[in-house]
């Protein structure tokens, strides 16, 4: 009896087991009550049960608490309308875990009802503990996933689950990756649809590609789609995410902008690379196959996109046309255009009429090799007047324009066209300097023969000749620099990159780089603004000099004509046996001559002298500015401009090799 009393518990083990099975489903039982303080099920202290049994019961009851926690999460999220398919499939995965757990409980329950407390077949707490060992471990893991998944959805949810897959225990990893492969399915579906057909079905914002419905088709490439950084799953690299976005975007672009309906999906290698299982996205062993799938589709799509651009929309030809007309690549045409426009452009800007200019452009095209150009390209070529500010001459506002429409305007956006116009304006101005100086030189040659008799002009003409040579050297070197060192090099680089390009973004980037490098080296960017205005000042001085000198040469030749006339008259009278000259005539002649020498010559001389000095000062200052540049090419320009170290003697600062 003593023994019995010693072993006697208040409760039979069978009852305990029954209660534990109940509690394990998250239901409170007679014996075990949920204690919210410790968040666990407990057997009240006044019930006499041997301590080890109590302990086993409590530890088994934990599963009930875990079960409830997971179930609550699932119930709550299933009602949540914003949770989206990825979240939903996570819930489904959780539910399937719960289901297999419930199955175990059902089995145990049957065993309990069939055998009761039967010694051989029945359950004991020890056996129950053994049965529950694995399920509790799994439940714990799943519950911890639920814990960290709170407030996350879509790609972020996947990242969180993936972060749990680093574990040494195989059971752990296989459970997590199992859940992950269930959860990832919708994402895989979204990605597949996106890269194959360009449809973006993501009403719950779970995907890492976001689309802006406000953006119209003509800005599709640049602004419509963006990456949602937080939604990129951790098992996809940033590069992969970029490729995926680009592929889908390319598909949409091909269909909507290029109006091309080739079914890329059907291509053989695309088909072959296609996967059906989403789990390939994160499993390390087959990582290559998903990468491969994305790679193949990406390459194929981008290739097709570029083919369409090249063949149907003549991208390369347009690029070349830009080079030829806006960057003055077509020499004869530009020369002709300038010849025709000189008088027109010297007018005040407000007196220009577009139709006149267009007519001149037409003439220039017809009379040069440009006439053999593709009709489409010529029809896009146009004249454009930049914004007129008071006092502007035609030269300041005139610009060629190239109208870009359709798909190619994705590369030649309105912003980049502005760059082209600005560059054109600069090149045109530099060209004008060469043109003006060449004209000046020609006139000087003509006049100098004519004016040989007027020895009082010798010193002026000589110094003018020297300064003009200096200017010619300067403009020629600038021209050489722009054409060969800047544009030609950048162009070569651009063509190389365009040939190498794998997708449209590469082309856009290469093109932007092309423009940027021209802008920088032609000093047109923000950083070089002072240098650019310095160059403008030098150009203005050259024009001013040219105008004054030409005006003077005209006056001088008129003076010369008077003198010749006077002499001829004198000779004629002489031959007619009259007085060759009279005192009156002589006085008038003398007065005119002195007026010319005292007024015109003297004035011009001082004007030119001042101009020459200013010019040289400006050039020296420009060289000093160049010397502080770090760009090799700009340094080289400095050496070209000052090849014989002429300016270096004037400005000792230039002599020190490194600034």
């Amino acid at each position: 009896n003593n023994y019995k009393a010693y072993l006697k518990d208040d409760v039979q083990e069978v009852e305990l087991i029954r209660d534990v099975i109940l509690v394990a489903q998250g239901i409170e039982s007679k014996l075990m009550r949920f204690d919210p303080k410790t968040e666990s099920y407990r057997i009240p202290d006044n019930v006499r049960v041997s301590p080890h049994k109590k302990k086993i019961c409590c530890s088994l009851a934990e599963s009930g608490w875990l079960y409830n926690k997971i179930k609550q999460y699932v119930d709550q999220k299933k009602l949540d309308n914003t949770f989206g398919p990825i979240g939903l499939s996570f819930c489904v995965a959780l539910q399937s875990e719960l289901r297999s757990y419930l199955r175990l409980i059902a089995v145990l329950d049957t065993q309990l009802t069939e055998h009761g407390s039967d010694i051989t077949g029945g359950l004991t707490l020890t056996r129950l503990a053994l049965w529950f060992k694995e399920p509790i471990k799994n439940l714990k893991l799943v519950a911890s996933l639920v814990d960290i998944a709170k407030g996350k959805k879509g790609g972020a949810l996947l990242s969180i689950i993936h972060s749990y897959s680093w574990h040494g225990a195989i059971a752990h990893t296989s459970l997590v990756s199992n859940m992950l492969s269930l959860t990832v399915k919708p994402l895989f579906g979204i990605i597949s649809r996106w890269i194959y057909t360009g449809t973006l079905e993501d009403p719950y914002n779970e995907f890492f590609v976001a689309s802006d419905p406000q953006v119209k088709d003509d800005n599709l490439w640049h602004f419509k789609y963006s990456l949602r950084k937080s939604m990129i799953p951790s098992f996809l690299s940033a590069d992969m995410a970029r490729k995926i976005m680009l592929t889908g975007k390319s598909v949409v672009f091909i269909h909507r902008v290029c109006h091309d309906n080739t079914q890329l999906e059907r291509r053989e290698n695309v088909e072959r690379a296609r996967l059906t299982e989403g789990s390939a996205m994160f499993s390390q062993n087959e990582e290559d196959s998903f990468t491969n799938m994305i790679d193949v589709v990406y390459k194929e799509t981008s290739k097709h996109l570029m083919e369409v651009l090249y063949t149907k929309y003549n991208f390369i030809n347009h690029l070349k046309a830009m080079r030829r007309y806006l960057l003055l690549g077509q020499g004869d045409f530009i020369q002709q255009l300038m010849d025709l426009l000189v008088t027109e452009l010297s007018k005040d800007a407000s007196a220009l009429y577009l139709h006149n200019l267009n007519g001149i452009l037409e003439t220039a095209i017809r009379s040069t090799n440009a006439q053999f150009e593709d009709k489409d390209i010529l029809s896009r070529l146009d004249v454009r007047l930049l914004e007129i500010s008071p006092g502007d001459l035609g030269w300041d506002v005139f610009s060629l324009d190239y109208r870009t429409r359709g798909p190619i305007s994705t590369v030649f956006t309105s912003d980049t066209v502005i760059f082209y116009l600005r560059i054109f304006n600069f090149l045109w101005r530099a060209k004008r300097m060469e043109y003006a100086l060449a004209n000046l030189w020609r006139q000087k040659q003509q006049y100098s023969r004519m004016l040989r008799g007027m020895t009082e002009l010798d010193d002026l003409l000589h110094s003018a000749h020297i300064i003009a040579s200096e200017m010619i050297h300067f403009t020629q070197q600038i021209g050489y620099f722009i054409n060969f060192e800047v544009i030609e090099c950048a162009w070569d680089d651009l063509l190389h990159k365009v040939n190498q390009a794998e997708d449209l973004d590469h082309i856009i980037a290469a093109h932007q780089q092309f423009l940027d490098s021209i802008m920088t080296r032609c000093l047109m960017d923000e950083e070089h603004r002072p240098m650019f205005s310095q160059l403008r000042t030098i150009f203005d001085l050259i024009i001013k000099y040219q105008q004054i000198l030409e005006g003077f040469l005209e006056k001088a030749s008129r003076e010369n004509e008077y003198r010749v006339e006077y002499m001829r008259n004198a000779a004629r009278r002489d031959s007619q046996s009259e007085w060759a000259t009279t005192e009156e005539r002589e006085a008038a002649e003398k007065e005119r001559r002195t007026e010319f020498i005292q007024l015109t010559l003297k004035q011009t001389r001082s004007q030119l002298k001042v101009l020459a000095q200013t010019y040289q000062g400006m050039v020296t200052k420009f060289l000093v500015m160049l010397a502080t540049q770090t760009d090799d090419k700009l340094q080289a320009l400095r050496f070209r401009l000052d090849f014989n170290e002429y300016y270096q003697q004037k400005e000792p600062f230039l002599a020190s090799p490194q600034v």
Binding site: N2, Y3, A5, Y6, L7, R48, S50, P51, H52, K55, I56, I119, T120, T124, T126, R127, A129, L130, K133, W166, H167, G168, A169, I170, A171, H172, Q284, D632, Q635, A636, F639, A655, S656, P657, Q658
Partner: protein, 667 residues
């Protein structure tokens, strides 16, 4: 428990048959780590589990139970260990080990369940229990000791693996225990070996808890390779962590490191790596079986990288290009270059413009046969702000003890002439920048500067010789006056030319040929690096560039020569007819030599001769020449003596044979 105890009777008071049952029931619970009244569980600070027994128990039972109790505490310790070590921060290896232990515990629980059934059927006695538990006892004590030593040593990753492996060594006699240990070792090694496979076959490190033996330092980027003097990238980007190598991998660790390192370079060059015979590596208690996998991976990786270097990046051509420019292999180019830059390089470096040199270099390359070099565009000029000896000391200090000396020397000396400061430089792109790192470039530059300056001295002496050739028109007496000066010039030229021949042919060319032959049978890139460095070091050594004393003496000799040349040229120039002759003095190939009629020439010669002989008659001329002669011979003797005292390992002794071939200096 309190209420029960007060109502209950001490177990000793119960009848014996009951006592056994009571004890048995509690014991079964204890085996699964639960505490009871008769047997109580306590845990001390070291997480050591002990069970204490109610001493009133009948003695025979007590002894029985006492024998079983260690098993109970072992189980408790192990389960505690499992709870502690399965969390994330314990690393993959410990987690895997825990899973193995857990499997074993489950097995044990099953056994206890079976025993419980027997007990409930009334078929279990303490003796039975003792018998059934026999095989488990030794296992458990092994596992317990493993757990406690891991706890004690806070073992992690490879340390755990080593511990298991070492434990296995002790257990060789005990087949059951050792097979258990092997099983655990296998399980624990799975994540580690998986990382190893990734590294060996793909060059990837996937190591979230820093357990793998190779650690990556992301701050060491390949872009900095060309800026730093040391070869940090190759040495520091991936390093072995000695404490993270399991004992059975120790002997392969270097190969493992190199394999992944090679693959990484290949991967960074944008090539996909598909290992043809990638096999799963699994734990092997006998230390065998790894060798084959690791060696095949290693040879594949090294071959892959070597092929990449040789075929895609044309390493051999690169080497030749370096020799062409830095070791003056292309004669016409270097003469052309020296002609063109002569004027510019004479200036102090503060007044030299690098752009100008750069464009002259380009011109020289394009107008000489060096134009066919495919890598000519990578060659740059550079003006180093310190002379050769300083550079030498810098290098030596980085390797040994000269550090103090360097710090005393002013780092940049702006008064250095361009000739002394000038050197080529070369920008090499990744991945060849691994081979031509700053360390290598420094060595090339030192050799170049040495040879370049020597060439310069020779050219000066030659210019004097050209001037002297006008002496043909001198009278016998005049010639006599000059003979001492001519003799000295000849001595100098002889020395300089022999030295150059020695350096170019006997040292550089022979070592280079050796190096090129050795390239044919290297099997990995490390060997290429070593051979290359070796070759450079040998060249430096035999060109006196590792010995500051010799170098100082040599530079003194060179400066005597230069002073002599300057003196001789001044003598001529002061004759005031130097204008026409100056075209000849530096034999500039770009300037057309003005044609001078024979008569004019004769007149001039006569004038010069007259002037010079006037000067020669002056005592000071003789004295100066004699002074030069004395200086030169003494310094040369000093140099030769110093060389003769060197050990026979270097080729420097050949200089003795060459310069002193007719025993002129030994008499």
């Amino acid at each position: 428990g309190e209420s029960r105890k007060s109502r209950g009777v001490p177990v000793g008071k119960l009848p014996e048959a009951y006592q056994e049952k009571v004890v048995m029931e509690q014991l079964l619970a204890c085996l699964l780590g639960h505490s009871g009244e008769i047997i109580q569980l306590t845990q001390d600070a070291d997480k050591q589990m002990t069970f204490t027994l109610d001493q009133t128990l009948q003695p025979s039972h007590r002894d029985h139970v006492q024998r079983i109790l260690p098993l109970c505490s072992a189980y408790a310790t192990i389960t505690q260990f499992i709870r502690d070590k399965s969390s994330f921060e314990n690393g993959l290896v410990n987690q895997a080990l825990v899973e193995g232990l857990d499997k074993f515990c489950t097995k044990f629980t099953t056994l206890v369940c079976q025993l419980e059934t027997k007990f409930l059927q009334g078929q279990l006695t303490l003796s039975h229990l003792w018998f059934y538990l026999q095989p488990t006892i030794s296992h458990f004590s092994l596992l317990e000791s493993i757990c406690s030593s891991i706890n004690k040593g806070n073992n992690f990753g490879a340390n755990t693996l080593s511990l298991l492996h070492n434990r296995l060594k002790i257990l060789t006699g005990d087949a059951q225990c050792s097979s258990l240990c092997v099983e655990l070792g296998e399980r624990a090694a799975v994540p580690y070996l998986h990382m190893l496979e990734l590294w060996l076959y793909r060059g990837i490190i996937q190591d979230p808890y820093a357990e793998f033996m190779v650690s990556e330092d992301a701050s060491v980027s390949k872009e900095r390779l060309i800026e730093q003097y040391n070869d940090t990238y190759w040495e520091k980007r991936y390093t072995l962590c000695r404490e993270r190598i399991p004992v059975y991998m120790e002997m392969y660790s270097d190969e493992i490191l190199s394999t992944g390192k090679y693959l990484n370079v290949v991967r960074l060059c944008g090539q996909l790596i598909r290992h043809p015979n990638a096999r799963e590596i699994s734990y092997n208690s006998q230390d065998t079986g790894y060798r084959e996998s690791i060696e095949s991976a290693y040879s594949y990786a090294s071959q892959l990288l070597l092929d990449l270097f040789y075929q895609q990046y044309h390493l051999k051509d690169r080497f030749r290009s370096f020799k062409r420019f830095f070791l003056l292999d292309q004669g016409d180019f270097i003469v052309q270059f020296m002609d063109m830059t002569n004027e510019e390089l004479k200036k102090p470096i503060s007044r030299i413009s690098e752009q100008k040199l750069e464009s002259l270099l380009e011109l020289a390359i394009r107008t000489s046969t060096a134009n066919c070099d495919p890598y000519k565009d990578d060659i740059r000029v550079s003006l180093l702000g310190h002379d050769l000896i300083t550079q030498l000391l810098t290098i030596l200090s980085l390797e040994s003890t000269y550090e103090k000396d360097v710090k005393q020397i002013n780092p940049t000396d702006l008064n250095l002439s361009g000739l002394e400061a000038f050197s080529f430089s070369c920008t090499v792109q990744w991945p060849l920048s691994l081979v031509f790192n700053k360390k290598v470039l420094f060595r090339y530059q030192m050799l170049f500067r040495h040879l370049f300056y020597m060439k310069h001295v020779e050219r000066l002496l030659n210019a004097v010789w050209v001037n002297n050739s006008t002496a043909k028109g001198y009278t016998r007496q005049q010639l006599h006056q000059f003979s001492s000066a001519f003799l000295l010039r000849h001595k100098m030229l002889n020395f300089i030319q022999h030295l150059q021949y020695y350096m170019m042919i006997e040292v550089i060319d022979s070592y280079w040929t050796e190096f090129e032959t050795s390239l044919k049978d290297v099997s990995n890139v490390d060997e290429v690096l070593n051979q290359h460095m070796n070759m450079l070091n040998k060249c430096l050594r035999d060109c006196m560039l590792t010995n500051p004393e010799l170098l100082k003496t040599l530079s003194k000799l060179q400066s005597v020569c230069i002073l002599y040349c300057n003196f001789m040229q001044r003598t001529y120039h002061s004759a005031d007819v130097d204008q026409e002759l100056s075209g000849l003095t530096l034999t500039s190939s770009l300037q057309a030599v003005p044609t001078i009629t024979v008569q004019q020439k004769k007149n001039k010669q006569a004038m010069v001769a007259q002037h010079v002989s006037d000067m020669a008659l002056d005592d000071s001329f003789y004295k100066t020449i004699a002074n030069f002669d004395k200086n030169f011979t003494e310094t040369l003797m000093q140099l030769l003596n110093a060389i003769s005292e060197l050990n026979a390992e270097t080729k420097l002794l050949h200089i003795l044979d060459r310069v002193n071939y007719n025993d002129f200096y030994s008499s």
